[in-house]
Amino acid sequence: MITLSDLSAKGGSPVTWPMGLFLLGLATAPFWLAPIGLYQYLGIEIAIWILFAMGFNLLFGYMGLHSFGHGAYLGVGAYAFGLFQLHVGTSLWGGLLAAVLAATVAGAVVGLFLSHRRGIYFALLTIGFGQVFWFSAIKLHSVTGGEDGLLGIPRPPLELGFASVDLNDNAAFYWFVAALVALVVPLLWRLVNAPFGRVLQAIRQNELRARFIGYEVWRFKWATFTISAATAGLAGGLFAMAQESAYPDVMSLHQSGLIVMMVLVGGGLVSFWGPVLGVILYFIARDVLGGLTETWLLWYGLMFVVMVMVRPEGLAGLFHVLRPGKGRA
């Protein structure tokens, strides 16, 4: 058996080789993306979705709570960023803070309804709430711009005191997103290996026993839901910058399903790094398969089906088998 716990049994040192490889990839991407036939903007998309996927996997993989409506919090973040720019003022940090706060609040409120549910009831409620957000985005025309969404969201410059960096340049914007990813991902790694994260995993393994050794299970579910919504909000804010717009599709069920597929295909159920692999694979498939055939999503979907059937541990499962990793902290 390979499990999430395999990886972290060693105590969660932040300097593991996958972490090193990940940060190295993040830091060098601009130099090899173009030479291998890809482009800068793809790096931005991948980095943003990695944020979204890793926060999502905290809930999906580590806590074992299957949310199928998580696009909602990506969308809330995107809209909050846009609304801040359009109504409050052009500010990078203000907008991102608004994105994270709005998604945190949305997640915290929805989480209150969800944290006493499990299994299919939990999943159905996440879809229900997801639809509520999506529907609101379409119908609250005066606020959200309806089906068109918010257009012309600016990318505010990054003020460093001594200099101002124009993020309209995709190369600069990539560095900014990459820096945030390089900050958040190690934090998530620490979190899953800290007592809090270990309790989450204990609850996933045996909720009954967790209660009988004194843990208030619903609070952990609520906190995890909220944290994953907050991360989605940050990703959403960046997504609004990337797209220079926010629109209902961002929080559609389609989007929510995509993140589930990415995380599963990558191996989020067995590895912290699964979501990274899943996101990269998806975008490569989109661009490479998409260049060959218009039906690429069909092929991706079929690949997902095959993956779930023959290798439910996902891509990361392949690596696990090769790695003998054993031993104590």
């Binding site: 290996n193 009954l208 004194g214």
Partner: protein
Amino acid sequence: MTLFAAEAIHKRFGARVVLENISLGFERDRVHGIMGPNGAGKTTCFNVLTGRHAPDRGRITFDGRDITGLAPQRIARLGIARSFQIMNLFDDTLVIENVLLALPAFRGRRTSVLGKVFEDAGLTDAALAVLDLVGLADRAWEKAAALPYGDRRALEIAVALAAEPRILFLDEPTSGLGAEATQGLARLLDRLRQRYTIVIIEHDMRFLFGLADRISVIHWGQVIAEGTPAELMADKWVKRSALGEVA
């Protein structure tokens, strides 16, 4: 002195009455045995006493405090620990982590999001000490799922012990154990009795009679006899129901 008392407990599932007017009292620092045939309602009784199911009627008190209907996690935090007849472990993790998670001091660190799980050597040592008590110290860093059956039973008890309980409920700890492992467990419980108030469900009569100060016999959801092992030996009802089943 009575540490834990259940008065007139009733519990039914749908139309099926499983516990009917059960009253039990457990004295501090004693070993209290519960026996009875399969399906008598013993496990359900533990489930009601430890908060898994709320009783339909009746009152449960612990150290003078009414705990009727409290959630299991709240009951657990009062110092009431239990093991399960069907094993309930954290299988995807290390043996030591099963125990660590149950330590009250670790629970105190539950909101730590940046600390490391094994960084507190004091806690790790405390977990190792509990494992040592049940003879599992040298398997501490193995996967829980990889333990052989007998060791998993021991771990089940260790998790309950880790909670530093003021009263310990053990549901059929010998079930599935061979003769040798059962004897080992008897020796362990003999040591634990110096430190804990223990309530133990057991179908192995010889095991229970050698261990318990008092025994209650449950049949058809009722307490049909109660007394010291010697008194029960002489009771004709016990011979017919519980003893008859096992013999």
